[in-house]
Symmetry: C2
Subunit: 423 residues, 2 copies
Amino acid sequence: MGLVVQKYGGSSVADAEGIKRVAKRVVEAKKNGHQVVVVVSAMGDTTDELIELAEEVSPMPSGREFDMLLTAGERISMALLAMAIKNLGHEAQSFTGSQAGVITDSVHNKARIIDVTPGRIRSSVDEGNVAIVAGFQGVSADKKDITTLGRGGSDTTAVALAAALDAEVCEIYTDVDGVFTADPRVVKKARKIDWIASEDMLELASSGSKVLLHRCVEYARRYNIPIHVRSSFSGLQGTWVSNEPRGDQPMEQALISGVAHDTSEAKVTVVGVPDKPGEAAKIFRAISDAEINIDMVVQNVSAATTGLTDITFTLPMTDGKKAISALERTKDAVGFQSLRYDDQVAKVSLVGAGMKTNPGVTATYFEALSKAGVNIELISTSEIRISVVIRADEVNEAVRAVHTAFGLDSDSDEAVVYGGTGR
Amino acid sequence: MGLVVQKYGGSSVADAEGIKRVAKRVVEAKKNGHQVVVVVSAMGDTTDELIELAEEVSPMPSGREFDMLLTAGERISMALLAMAIKNLGHEAQSFTGSQAGVITDSVHNKARIIDVTPGRIRSSVDEGNVAIVAGFQGVSADKKDITTLGRGGSDTTAVALAAALDAEVCEIYTDVDGVFTADPRVVKKARKIDWIASEDMLELASSGSKVLLHRCVEYARRYNIPIHVRSSFSGLQGTWVSNEPRGDQPMEQALISGVAHDTSEAKVTVVGVPDKPGEAAKIFRAISDAEINIDMVVQNVSAATTGLTDITFTLPMTDGKKAISALERTKDAVGFQSLRYDDQVAKVSLVGAGMKTNPGVTATYFEALSKAGVNIELISTSEIRISVVIRADEVNEAVRAVHTAFGLDSDSDEAVVYGGTGR
């Protein structure tokens, strides 16, 4: 029995009852002979309350102080969890990100982990303690300032510690039963996936699936750490995410892992761009200078008569305004004709490593959409993903049609709650 | 203009408004050319709320985890204060006790400071920042665990930092205007003291005055740091506490500094103790083994006929039960006759270095009490203090009579709020 890292999100430790329930689950793993390291987020709404306080004292709180403030949240939940575990007769010690050796760069509010030196954690578990570590936080290598890791930070802390401690598995406890073949709120017959390859999970994460964030899966893939996403409310097996299937997992990958959708993006079309070298570069330099991350990019073949082409890309809806002003400023330099902005769009993505060797997938996908009366506006593909942009009000219908067409529907209706993993 | 350490208690930073008011005051000191280090307590009720949470998860929280939990409180207030100061256009950085170099022993919940290595604080203020330090907390020298300093901890942090940074003054901001010649809730005509010698302040603190705790005054006395106790609500000069008066302060000490009273003690009498060497030692060894701190001790001359004597001592009322059981267990070994316990008592103390050279003080004191019809049950004196134990229901009358008798009454009625300094 080796070392297990367990991560519990804010909804799992929202109150004293939740903390006691988590303590029981941790003790169970300990009783089964594992060494256990637990990573916790802040309790329920603590972070929101702290942010509210910050806004009351300053309209633009400094990054360093904001991190100092927010990290109080995990300090509370981790100390309480340690007390609850000790109350069950097992030894436990809590550690801040800094004490746990989570070393980051100095970018406050969204620091990146650059090293993990878990000497104190190793000693603590070797002495028989459950080690509890504050998620989401670290200490900067140069200035020794407290940093936070930004969105999905606690999951990343868990995976990083699992890698540094050479853990058997990193268990991510959340409020859903695992990763599903589609969002169960949309597709009643969505099935829980027992095992999914890391690369498929990465594509799902960047296509709108919210159970695991891309960043955390990428970290786990790089260090070959199996993730087990499961519910902190049920005792059920969840979804295993790993580079290769393990002994008891299917050796052959599913053709299609799942259907993801995303309604948080908008579509920008730059109309009438002169079709000559360097024009597209100017456009995307302007977008990049505005610090906007774009997603899909499509350029049509230019019309022979005019020598002009259209370039379309998608980006987070929240960056729409910024993108349009950035482009307006380059209008003369680029020489395009006009801009179109559309945020009534949705992206539907089909993900599966199996599609590499199965030529019929694209046809089946598009036929399913067509039969459902859904018009495709943009297409973009990777080796293991096909994404289309459609009208936002057709998204549910489209996801259901595709899910059925690829035989992903389960036999029974599942009743599950589906939600984000907090930070 | 040198370095100033300012300490603000929990009531001064109870909400966003309070924090902004404190920020303004800090900036004022900065504008006057001072380098400023600020020590803050947790906001208002934060500590109580955290304690409540701890009690919900465990009936007997571990010391280490309890300290980890409680220290979240200052983390919140200090980060918010830093944001509020930056919002006023001045640079500020917050530091945990550990970052500020407050090194303690390993006694959780009531650690003692054993060293202060304020290198980061010095650098921060030298770079032009206001440095904000979490009060009440430190890090243990051996295990590098987070510790808390117990009651009055934030005041002690402030004085310790002032000493380590060779500050001009340690300003303790509270919700009263300073130290008074008596508790203004009892004596309407009590006067604010402009300057008081450290040794007198020490006696007042151990006699029931709650504005400054003994521990913090003792630390300041040892390192010769002047303390200025003042209100965070008014801009008025408060009370200076120092070993020697400064240039603008009266060179000659007042005869009497003030009258303190304390109703939190109880009186235990061990009746019929054989008057021979070693008996008293046995009694107080039993009390000490029970970890009870006693205050006054009085032994009457033994009655010649019986060879028996009575030993009376006072102790915190909260330890009364424990003391009685400890003594009951030694009854046979000591051979005393019986025990009497009385918690309807009050201690009234007259403090003033002037009494060393003024033989009439004791007489005036007792005459004042006698005229007020107050019976004295016990008397105990130090070089600069005379304490008496009387009936609890006569304490207000006694304090007023003594205050008047020594000419301490002010000409006008003062209207002030008097309260504790939190931690």
